[in-house]
Subunit: 364 residues, 2 copies
């Protein structure tokens, strides 16, 4: 054929959030797979596991006991990646030396939290009730609000709160008890900083927010939409890297969780539930992913708020089935990310799936 | 303690090649691991496997038979990510539309090759002879030279050749027969482009090459050096992300494989062998990794050559043992890469290991 076909010809798509490209090779999905297979998570885990350090009442690494909590439970990570207080770096190198030029270092302080989503060991987000998920969104919101106060009142150097979840062993989750994490840091992490830089540049060039314009465009085109409600839109972004990657973005210009109304919190809880039910239904398995919230820095000023736009990324690794994932390795690491189906193909498949009934609860 | 200790306190290090940061949390290596365990590759595979589509004489996906090759063997990937010829993209969108602004696309043409390193199904680079590895370096060089000619003489739009290897199932390798890949593209991939941008900026600011200055610095400091010979230096770079990541870099300013003398090709083959023997000896397992070569674009002009510097990256996932890897997930994907030991600690461990005798071939 002499016409360019997005579903058949190789092309690159530009990611305006990270200023990088992804290589799309849609014809490649047919290749055979003899490599590693994932072991899907075992069903029939007990509701309470005496050996789990996240279950209510159980003992943790350094002798603390969890309370017998009944909805969510937040505690400080026993093995935090950053600590609340440490000495400053005192460099004695001359600022013009090769060393100061090439080996740049910053001290980082902060706090790492674990957030148990539910007391029940064997649940996952798609299997939790809507009411329970509203409490999870509430717990994230309270944590963000509390850290803003801590930073302001106690003069803590906290700049950013990164909330995320690693679900499933394929995404490095070290305990299947439903939980996420939140790392509060004295620096804005690279990936977030890059988005802010892109937003700023776009705002400057076009006098509008990149995310706002992108939502407008996706609502016109409609072919990458997976879900939507009054407050949120879920799309497979045009530049998606992971096979079934999605972007959950607020339609109104919300900048952080603490700005949400009750109704907006419910809309977020609902759309997360619907999206993760679709994910589980895709390959009829507990679908692994890493997901993260991107929002305004803590105690953001007016300018920083104007530049932020609440959204979440879901990065799920599975490509063809419950056991065959996409590996982002070789070419992806040294060249650029490469994907084997188009964003539109992925969106179409996700859109067609049931978002109400989980495959394990179908009355066949 | 009131002194900042790099081996105990959290800090960020700047990666000047990619203009991003990595979070170093050296105290975190002690945390328990209940997550996914890798299955180390089974030893005692046969030298010839009738079911392997890379073994000499065997049938491939679309009916081709491999020749009965005796050293290296290169063929066009049966499931290439890019094709040699395809239609141009004809966009009818107005250049000021939201669509042209936010959904940027480029067509990509090229060729993908598979490079069998050896006819023997059960070998890996560290187990191959020095002589056989010289032939691998020779095969890479010949391919690069041939593609430069193709591009020039046949007017092919080829810009860059990305040579890489995914070793082991943990790094997405789909067949354990020793092989790598080489993707030749009509565009310079993102990651490479980013390095070129950093080199250009540095050259402009300091009138010297970033890589040359970095080598000078590492040869002074010595604490991150793993191996060296006349032509090459291997370090765990200051900004390493993967636990035992290394950078292999030429000491003289070499820009691509085709510039190497015989002696330099041998030096590369030798240092690759020594490095991968160390890797295997670290946890006494066939050490998985992705490795890639970065060099000048194809048919580079004088300016592009001045800006390029031959180097290789090795990204191995294992962290604590043959079965426990580092997952670059949640925080790493939404925030920034995070590591659990310092580059200096990793370099020290690699430096102390035997680079001559593979653990499987020790007498006693
Ligand atoms: O081409 P292979 O070996 O089948 O596939 C492997 O390497 C490719 C290039 O890095 C990746 O895109 C694949 O995800 C990976 O499984
Ligand atoms: O903190 P966890 O769940 O033990 O660990 C997991 O998440 C962390 C944050 O993304 C990663 O650094 C680890 O590699 C991963 O295994």
């Amino acid at each position: 054929s002499s016409q360019f076909d997005f579903a058949d010809h190789s092309h690159r798509r530009y990611n305006p959030l990270t200023d990088s490209w992804v290589l799309v090779s849609p014809h490649r999905a047919k290749r055979p797979w003899l490599g590693q297979e994932e072991s899907p998570s075992k069903p029939n885990a007990p509701e309470y596991d005496a050996a789990c350090y996240l279950c209510p009442g159980n003992l943790r690494a350094f002798g603390d006991f969890n309370p017998s909590y009944s909805s969510t439970f937040i505690f400080t990570n026993d093995f935090p990646a950053v600590k609340a207080k440490q000495p400053e770096i005192n460099s004695t190198d001359s600022p013009t030396s090769l060393k100061s030029r090439l080996l740049k270092t910053q001290s980082v302080e902060g706090q790492c939290f674990v957030i148990c989503f539910s007391p029940k060991h064997n649940l996952t987000i798609p299997l939790m009730t809507f009411e329970a998920l509203i409490k999870v969104v509430g717990a994230w919101t309270d944590l963000y609000r509390w850290l803003e106060k801590e930073a302001a009142m106690e003069n803590k150097p906290y700049k950013y709160l990164q909330i995320f979840e690693n679900k499933g062993t394929a995404m490095g989750c070290s305990n299947l008890h439903p939980h996420g994490q939140a790392w509060c840091l004295s620096t804005v992490p690279s990936e977030v900083e890059q988005e802010f830089r892109a937003f700023k540049k776009y705002l400057h060039q076009h006098s509008s927010h990149l995310m706002g314009d992108y939502i407008t465009l996706e609502l016109q085109e409609r072919e990458r939409i997976v879900l939507e409600n009054e407050t949120f839109l879920v799309v497979v972004p045009y530049w998606a890297v992971w096979p079934f990657e999605t972007l959950v973005v607020s339609k109104p210009h919300l900048t952080s969780l603490v700005e949400f109304s009750d109704a907006q919190r419910k809309d977020l809880a609902l759309i997360i539930k619907q999206l993760t039910v679709k994910y589980d239904n895709l390959f009829e398995t507990s679908f692994p992913y890493s997901m993260g919230l991107h929002q305004a820095p803590l105690n953001a000023n007016m300018k920083e708020r104007a530049n932020s736009w609440f959204h979440m990324h879901f990065y799920p690794p599975l490509l063809r089935s419950a056991t065959v994932r996409k590996f982002l390795v070789g070419f992806e690491l040294f060249g650029e990310p490469q994907r084997d189906l188009t964003a539109e193909q992925a969106a179409h498949r996700l859109r067609c799936l049931d978002s109400g009934v989980h495959y394990s609860q179908r009355s066949s």
